[in-house]
Symmetry: C2
DNA sequence: CATCTTGGCGTACGATGTACACAAGACGCG
DNA sequence: CGCGTCTTGTGTACATCGTACGCCAAGATG
C-alpha cells in the first residue's frame, strides 16, 4: 500500500475548534513580520515564476533563486519551510483571478471563462502542470476565489450545495485534463526537437513508423495516414466544455 | 518565453522517410540483446513500479532501484538512457490494456470502460500522475493500444478521422483531469496527516476557518458549512463521462 | 583458442535540499 | 542614548542524487 500512515492525524479529526492542523503557508502569508524585510513572499514567488518561465522548472533551485534575489540561499527558508512550499507559492502566484470579467449572472459564461483562462495560464507557464502534480495543492487563495466566483454564478439556480460543487469539479476536471494534456504534448514536441509551438501532428507522424511496423495498431495508423486537418486546440477545448456543461445541465434540469 | 529552441529539429521537419528523430526507447525495447542478460526492461520497470507503490515516487532513485535488483547502480544505464526514461517505462508498465473487456461494438461502453480503468489505475498508483507530468509522454505502446481499441469502437459510426480523434481526446481530457484531481486531493489528505483513504470533506472543513476568517469567500464558506453529503467519487466520475459523451454525441449527430 | 561485443561494476564529480550555529539589523524599554 | 531580545540574513557542512567514464567479465563468433 502506498499510504504510510492511515490513522487520523494530529489533533482530533473532527474537532470544531480544531483549527488548521498545519499552518499551511497561506495562514502565515499575511501575518506581519518584524525586523529586516529585504524579502517578501510575493517577491520570492514572482522571481521563482520568472525563473521557471525563462529556464524551466528544473532550473528552479534554491541556490539559483537566491542568487537572482541577491540573497543567501538559506535566507529563503525564513519564508518557506521547503522547496515544495515554494512550488505551492508559485502555483498560486500565476493565477490572476482579477482577469475574470464575464457577466457574473450568466453561469455558462463564467464557467467558460474560468476554463479558458485556465488553459491559457497552463500554456503560458508550461511548468505549472508539473509543479501542481509534484506538490498536490487544491485549495489555494486564488483558487478559492475562482470557486467563490463560480458559486456566485450558480446562486440563482435551484441546485443543492453538492450539485453546485459537482458542477464545479466537473468543469475543473475537464479543464485540467485538457490543459495538461495539451501542455504535455507541446513539451514532448519541444523535447523531440520541434518547438513548443510546432504542429502537433508532427508527433503523430513521427510515431507512425512505429505504428505501422508493429502492425498492432492498424486503425490508428490509418487515421494518421489519411491525414488530419490542422488542429484548432482552442476551439476543440471550447466544444468539450460546452458539451460537458450541456450534458450536466440536462441531468440537473437547468 | 519558455521555449529555448523553436527552429525545426533534427532531420527535415516534414520528410516522408524521416523515421523517428530519436530512437525513443520504445524502439529499442524489443531489439534482441546479446551477452549476459540478468536484467530486462520489463523486470526493471516492474521493480521500479513496486518501489514507487511501496515508498512513493520520491523514493525511486537509481541506487535504491539497483539495490532492489541486486545489481550495481550503473548497470541500469545499459537499459535506460536516463532516469526520465525509467519513468517513461514505469508509466507504460502500469497500463494493463488486457483488462479491457467491454463489447467492442458498443462505443459508449468501450469509452466508459477506458475512462473507469484509467481512474482506477491512477488511484492504485498515486505516483503515476506526477510521473506523467514530470516526463510528458503521450504515445506509449500501451496507450496506443487503448487508442486503437477506441477507434475500433467508433468504426461503424459516420465520423471523420478528425472527429474520432477529437472524441478520444475529449474523453482522455476529462478522465485525466478527474483522475489526477482526485489523486491530488488524496495525496493532500495524506500529507496533512489524514490517510490517503480519508474523507475528502476533511480537507474542506479544515480549510473553512481560513475561508471564514478572511471573509472573502462567503458563498464557499456557506456551502461547506451547510454540510456536504459523503462523496461518491466513482459515481460522480461516471456522470461526468456520460454527460460529456452525451453532449459530444449530440454535436456529432451520433 | 583468439577476438569481439555487450553487460555489469566501481569510482568520482557536480548539483541539490536543507539542518545548524552564528552574525547583524530592528525594536521595546530603561 | 544603551541594552536586551527577537527576527532576518549568512556560511558551512552533509547526505543524497543523477550520471560520465574507464575497467573487467561473460558469452558469442571466428
Amino acid at each position: 500500500m502506498a499510504n504510510t500512515k492511515n490513522a487520523c492525524g494530529p489533533g482530533e479529526q473532527d474537532g470544531e475548534q480544531g483549527g488548521a492542523v498545519q499552518p499551511s503557508i497561506w495562514e502565515r502569508l499575511d501575518t506581519p513580520r518584524g525586523g529586516r524585510t529585504t524579502l517578501t513572499h510575493a517577491g520570492i514567488a514572482e522571481a521563482a515564476v520568472a525563473l521557471a518561465d525563462a529556464e524551466g522548472l528544473e532550473a528552479v533551485s534554491m541556490r539559483k533563486l537566491a542568487d537572482r534575489l541577491g540573497v543567501a540561499t538559506m535566507a529563503l527558508y525564513r519564508y518557506v519551510d521547503s522547496k515544495d512550499e515554494l512550488l505551492e507559492l508559485m502555483t498560486d502566484a500565476v493565477i490572476d483571478s482579477a482577469a475574470l470579467v464575464a457577466d457574473p449572472g450568466d453561469w455558462r459564461a463564467v464557467f467558460g471563462e474560468v476554463a479558458v483562462r485556465r488553459r491559457e495560464t497552463a500554456l503560458a507557464h508550461p511548468w505549472l502542470s508539473a509543479a501542481q502534480a509534484h506538490v498536490p495543492t487544491t485549495l489555494t487563495p486564488s483558487r478559492n476565489l475562482v470557486v467563490e466566483r463560480m458559486l456566485g454564478a450558480l446562486e440563482p439556480l435551484p441546485l443543492t450545495g453538492d450539485q453546485k460543487m459537482q458542477l464545479i469539479r466537473a468543469l475543473d476536471s475537464y479543464a485540467r485534463g485538457a490543459s495538461d494534456g495539451e501542455v504535455y504534448q507541446r513539451m514532448m514536441l519541444e523535447r523531440r526537437g520541434f518547438g513548443f509551438d510546432g504542429d502537433i501532428r508532427i508527433l503523430l507522424r513521427s510515431n507512425m513508423q512505429w505504428l505501422l511496423r508493429s502492425g498492432r495498431y492498424p486503425r490508428f495508423a490509418r487515421v494518421v495516414q489519411d491525414g488530419l486537418a490542422p488542429a484548432d486546440a482552442a476551439a476543440e477545448f471550447d466544444q468539450g466544455i460546452e458539451a460537458l456543461l450541456d450534458g450536466l445541465a440536462v441531468r440537473f434540469g437547468i
